[in-house]
């Protein structure tokens, strides 16, 4: 059985390698031909301003995400390889209902934007942290860390209540989502982060490196996917259409909440974008800042890759609803 499999695998690898060699060779020849002969002509025709802008935004989102993604995967690989399970068991209350707010508040310690928090949450779950608590951390970390809060206070000078509102609404959403998961979540929705290598059980430097490499490549691929989606919306949806909706607060809040999803602005920058949307009521801008770090296309791709698609869709849609509700409540109270 084992031998048969090995032989079959070997054959498969050989066949696949030769197919790849042929395909790759043909592709290379084709590319070389096109580039050398038709290149200049074709490039000028296809490289219209929108296409060029698409590439620029696409690469920009990807480049911008790389350091944060690497930070996130380094932290997550370190958690996986060096931190024993019992540390988390000691730090977090046993009762999930209590662990959720504690984990939500712990989001303060991870400086960075949302790309970093997905792999970290994945590795927390792998280390035996209750999913509800890890999810609360996932949502709160990119929204309430000091870097983001300082950026918010710079973007809204003289409006400290905006910073407070963002903190409260984001933390509230994270905790509510954690509790919702603890109460209604089903294990089967969640495909726990699989890492091909042996590193989940293994520890030490080698496991760290294998985990880091795997997590970064895996999440990096999804970051690229999200960047492509973000660039497409960035180019396809002119922001001037927003002016149609500025009048009614009932439309403005959901509109900006949707905009936050499709624009995928990094959580460290979204306050400035929100500040520039000055025609909208403050509550709508708050919703933009609360939803953005928790639900956007880039995150959806990352979450689908890390936790599975059926989880990502359920989780993202309910987070969106909770985040909008929290923004409206806090906005009505504070702003």
């Amino acid at each position: 059985m084992q031998n048969q499999r090995t032989v079959a695998d070997g054959l498969r690898v050989v066949v696949r390698a030769s197919v790849y060699a042929v395909l790759g060779g043909a592709a290379l020849v084709a590319i070389a031909t096109v580039v050398s002969v038709l290149g200049p002509l074709l490039a000028l025709d296809l490289y219209t301003p929108p296409v060029a802008a698409w590439w620029t935004v696409f690469t920009a989102v990807a480049v911008q995400g790389v350091p944060f993604l690497l930070l996130g995967t380094v932290v997550s690989a370190a958690i996986g390889a060096f931190v024993p399970d019992r540390v988390f068991r000691r730090l977090l209350p046993r009762n999930p209902a209590l662990a959720v707010p504690v984990a939500g508040l712990a989001g303060v310690v991870l400086p960075g934007c949302e790309c970093a928090s997905v792999p970290v949450a994945g590795s927390l779950m792998r280390r035996g942290v209750a999913p509800a608590a890890a999810l609360a951390f996932l949502l709160s970390a990119p929204a309430i860390n000091p870097v983001v809060l300082v950026a918010t206070s710079i973007a809204f000078p003289g409006q400290p209540e905006m910073v407070l509102a963002r903190l409260l609404a984001s933390l509230g959403t994270a905790v509510v989502m954690g509790w919702l998961w603890a109460r209604f979540g089903k294990e089967k929705w969640l495909r726990l982060p699989g890492r091909g290598a042996a590193s989940a059980a293994a520890t030490g430097p080698r496991a760290f490196l294998t985990g880091l490499q795997h997590d970064f490549l895996h999440a990096g691929g999804f970051l690229v996917l999200g960047a492509a989606a973000a660039a497409t919306f960035n180019i396809a949806v002119p922001r001037s259409v927003l002016d149609l909706f500025t009048g009614s607060p009932w439309l403005a809040v959901p509109l900006l909440a949707v905009l936050a999803v499709v624009l995928c602005v990094c959580s460290e920058a979204d306050a400035f974008v929100a500040a520039s949307l000055s025609a909208f009521p403050p509550t709508a801008r708050l919703a933009f800042m609360v939803v953005g770090p928790m639900v956007d296309l880039k995150l959806l791709a990352l979450q689908a890759g890390t936790f599975g698609r059926s989880f990502a869709v359920r989780f993202a849609s309910s987070t969106w609803v909770v985040a909008v509700a929290a923004s409206v409540l806090v906005g009505w109270w504070l702003l």
């Binding site: 802008a53 690469t59 990096g220 690229v224 520039s276």
Partner: protein, 300 residues
């Protein structure tokens, strides 16, 4: 090839990041200057990780690793990332181990074995390949798109197309007094700074001063033209537009996206803080073509 795929991808990504940060200023087309050190560190780390990964895959796992895990490692390295059946089994088992294995190795491995079947099922159960863990690393090949783009033909900085697509935005702020302008004649200002002083400065610090600004040309509907600059906070995806209307005696029309430096004096219009005051206008004395600056954007 496949064996060294992860290493190659890491080297490619790290190389692309280093090419735009360490060897030139290209990164300024995509992100703002403050990110450079982090990008360089990331690039170096990725290249190192790529080298280490290649070495690790070259050398079989050391004897300190216990049997079952070694097997898993092997599977991942050789065909885990493409192969549905095997990758699925490896990963399913692995995920199960992480879930069930509460420190007890024996138990963890058994659980892993049980869930392995599960993994295979799900692997064949009509999930899209790329959103599925076992086939996960395949998605990593997408990294080649931005990496090769950066290495071979770096996308240009955003220009008049992006500026024209969205209504230029004003920084949201109230009318108030500004700190005194720096000395100098002409005084060097950013488009954003000029705009906010022109529209919101109750002290009218711009009046009587000759200012100089650099930006690219965009055209309005009725023959007006603007010196425009995109403002970027974090990366090019959040670019917003700042522009100043240029009134000059010269009749020749510069093509859009031409970079120019204009020198002139502020022409007040509208009342402070009102819509009529925007976009601000400048009576230009001289307009000179310049090369695109290293940082094509202004920091918002």
């Amino acid at each position: 090839m496949r064996r060294y795929g992860p290493a190659a991808l890491l080297l490619l990504t790290g190389g692309a990041v280093l090419r735009i940060t360490l060897f030139g200023d290209l990164y300024l087309r995509y992100v703002q200057a403050g990110l450079r050190p982090y990008l360089i560190v990331s690039g170096v780390a990725l290249v190192l990780l790529g080298v280490v990964t290649a070495v690790l895959h070259h050398r079989p796992p050391g004897p300190h690793e216990d049997g079952p895990h070694e097997d898993g490692d092997h599977e991942d390295g050789d065909h885990g990332d493409g192969d549905h059946g095997d990758g699925g089994r490896g990963d399913g088992g692995h995920g199960g181990g992480a879930r069930g294995g509460d420190g007890d190795h024996e138990l963890g491995d058994h659980e892993g074995g049980d869930r392995a079947e599960d993994g295979v099922h799900r692997g064949g159960g009509g999930h899209e390949g790329h959103s599925h863990g076992p086939a996960g690393p395949r998605v990593a090949w997408l990294l080649t798109l931005p990496a090769l783009a950066l290495l071979l033909f770096p996308p240009p900085a955003l220009g008049s197309y992006s500026a024209g697509r969205e209504a230029a935005q004003r920084a949201a702020q109230g009318v108030g007094s500004f700190p005194a302008l720096p000395a100098g004649n002409p005084v060097e200002l950013t488009v954003a700074e000029f705009s906010s002083r022109a529209i919101y400065d109750s002290g009218r610090s711009l009046s009587g001063r000759t200012v100089r600004m650099t930006g690219f040309v965009t055209h309005g509907d009725d023959g007006t033209w603007y010196v425009t600059r995109l403002l970027v906070t974090c990366c090019a995806a959040d670019a917003t537009t700042g522009k100043v209307e240029i009134r000059d005696a010269d009749d020749d029309v510069l093509p859009a996206d031409t970079w120019v430096t204009v020198t002139g004096t502020w022409r007040p219009k509208g009342s402070l803080g009102s819509d009529a005051a925007w976009p601000p206008a400048l009576d230009a004395a001289t307009v000179t073509r310049v090369k695109q600056p290293a940082d094509p954007y202004e920091k918002a």
